[in-house]
Symmetry: none
Subunit: 207 residues, 4 copies
DNA sequence: CATGAATGAGATTTCATTCAT
DNA sequence: TATGAATGAAATCTCATTCAT
């Protein structure tokens, strides 16, 4: 179907991406074959290779596009929230809600597999590290700074470290869930973790 | 009657296992070939297949043997420690020390890759979940209970959740290090995390 | 009634043919893709397939059309030449001049590749052999016969063999140039070759 | 069959090389598939890839090994020949004899295809040009110089050009044979060519 | 026991060709 | 007519595993 709208192409591309995600979720990146992806997307090998020049590029595009979206979503939601406490709560609540998404456990596996995969590739690693520092951590650090400015939080915090720990906890809890599939533990850990964090943020540290 | 001593066999087996670990660390499990492992171990294909009936079995044996060792080591060290606080400190200090090991970052990648890999295999997953609950979490829960019994810690703690969070943090911090290789952040996060945990364990929660 | 003029169609067809020649010159027939040709001609796949029903037909048409032209050109020029010696000189001079054409070395590669390609295809081979015997060799043989009739050349010549050798030399010299790109050698060889031939044609062979 | 003699390996390698040559002779390099070669050699894909790391490397090795042999053979035969005239005669006679070899016409196609193929690859081309200049042409030039020293040939010859023309003729004649398969013409052309050359070498050039 | 040559299923990728628009 | 998205057969190459020596 030649001379086709950009929209049409974007849609087909998205179909492929989604099929690929399902495959990677099920079997992992290396064990998913292009044939699996082709079959799942109901298209053809040629089509997939028209949109992505290799299996690796498909993987890379898929993962990078997904992560760009998340922070976009957060920033949007945050328009209506005005205290740092609310914002942090919002993030925790996002992760609580995630549980309801179909296939969330499998998606987490893809996420972690990707981190390890990227960490072994000089270029991807650089991108991921940059993103982690300048986007992911900075995002939370900003909120904490806002909280300090607002008087919500203890002004003596090592905000960088706290942000890093914040994500470390979320990742750690998610990783446990990716493995065990234990929803109660995931929920409880998030709740407990939130409390622990809030306590830390709001208490005066006596050095 | 064996032609060679059991010792000799164990040694060769260990050589293979160690070479495999180095390969997996470098390239990941799927991308490491038996030829890579054979070359690194200076042996032969046949030999490797004498000790392990498949690449997967080699992986499984390698990873399971390694994790058994860790808790054994902890329990040994704990003989001489008598307060829960000291024991927890010991664990944190173990992770601080790990940084000094050659190739620790790569090893962490293998560790996380393995978790994801195992989580996709019914049998392995079952083992891992069991181990996680009955050994890994229980290990920390025990210490916390000891601390409560000793009066070191707040008696109203949800010990199970705290134990889960404890490991979630360690894993989350390690995962960040596996990706970034940022040693300072790893160290700081562990320290901050320890403080955060201790504060939580020792403070009376109101409600 | 055609919607576009025959002229227009011929022009577009020629554009495709020329682009194809450039591609084949650069990469060879098998390694040039239809996409390469399409891109170079600034048209589209469909258009190319409207003019040529397959890549092979495009190749065949291209090569056959080109070789038809050459002899036509020679015969035209020969209108004004009246001795066999002049005519042979003219041919040698044509090959000397060829060197000045842009991309001549690459074109020669296409030429030789085509000979080998055609030689492997029963039908094409038949055509080529016919052409070689009835057109190419005969063309030179005719000139030599003319020279004998004129008294320019030795009447005892094996004219068929001499014609074959004539082309063998031209091809051999061209092949060397196709490989080496050594213009001096090409020029010198042609000159020397011309002398050698003339000597042979004009000398009384003692048996 | 592990731990096998170098001889055994060389033999297997040779089997593959010969099968490949037959395939290339039949269909050409690009159109011959590894499956064709595997089938003809009665082995397996893995085996072929154990000996040659790619189809191209197989081609390259095959062609380079063959051409090394030829000059070796000539130099050996020349031990017993003491005049330049005899040596040149020997070369012509070699090409006359070649006709008797099974599949010689097809082999010639492979030879010419290879020249064109190599000429499109910077590295191969360099090698071929070097070989052509320093081995192939030099070989004949040496003989001619010997003939001049012996008083067999005219001392005023442009030996370099003559050598180049010598091979140009042989190649040109062979190319015609590769295409037409006309054995009589091939033989006659060689004979005539030899005469023409000898006349040129032994005559005093006036000017 | 150790070796490593051999196997071949199966992976990724290419590209000539078709055909709906 | 012209377009170029879609197709899928077929190519190259990899690599876990086997087994004769």
């Amino acid at each position: 179907m030649p001379k086709v709208s950009a929209d049409y192409k974007a849609k087909r591309r998205q179909e492929v991406i989604e099929s690929a995600l399902l495959c990677f979720a099920e079997k992992g990146f290396e064990s998913s074959t292009m044939d699996d992806i082709v079959e799942r997307s109901g298209t053809s090998k040629g089509l997939v290779y028209n949109y992505f020049k290799s299996k690796e590029e498909l993987y890379t595009s898929l993962m990078e596009e997904r992560s760009s979206k998340m922070f976009f979503t957060f920033r949007e939601k945050f328009q209506q929230l005005h205290t740092a406490t609310e914002k942090l709560k919002e993030i925790f609540s996002y992760y609580q809600e995630a549980l309801k998404k179909e296939g969330y456990q499998d998606y987490l596996k893809v996420h972690f597999e990707w981190i390890i995969y990227a960490s072994r590739n000089v270029k991807l690693k650089q991108k991921m590290v940059d993103r982690f520092e300048k986007e992911v951590c900075a995002f939370v650090e900003e909120i904490i700074n806002e909280g300090i400015a607002n008087g919500e939080f203890n002004p003596n915090l090592a905000t960088g470290s706290v942000a890093a720990i914040f994500w470390a906890k979320v990742d750690g809890i998610s990783l446990a869930y990716a493995l065990t599939g234990n929803q109660d533990q995931y929920r409880d850990s998030l709740i407990e973790s939130e409390k622990m964090l809030m306590k830390y943020l709001t208490t005066q540290l006596n050095k």
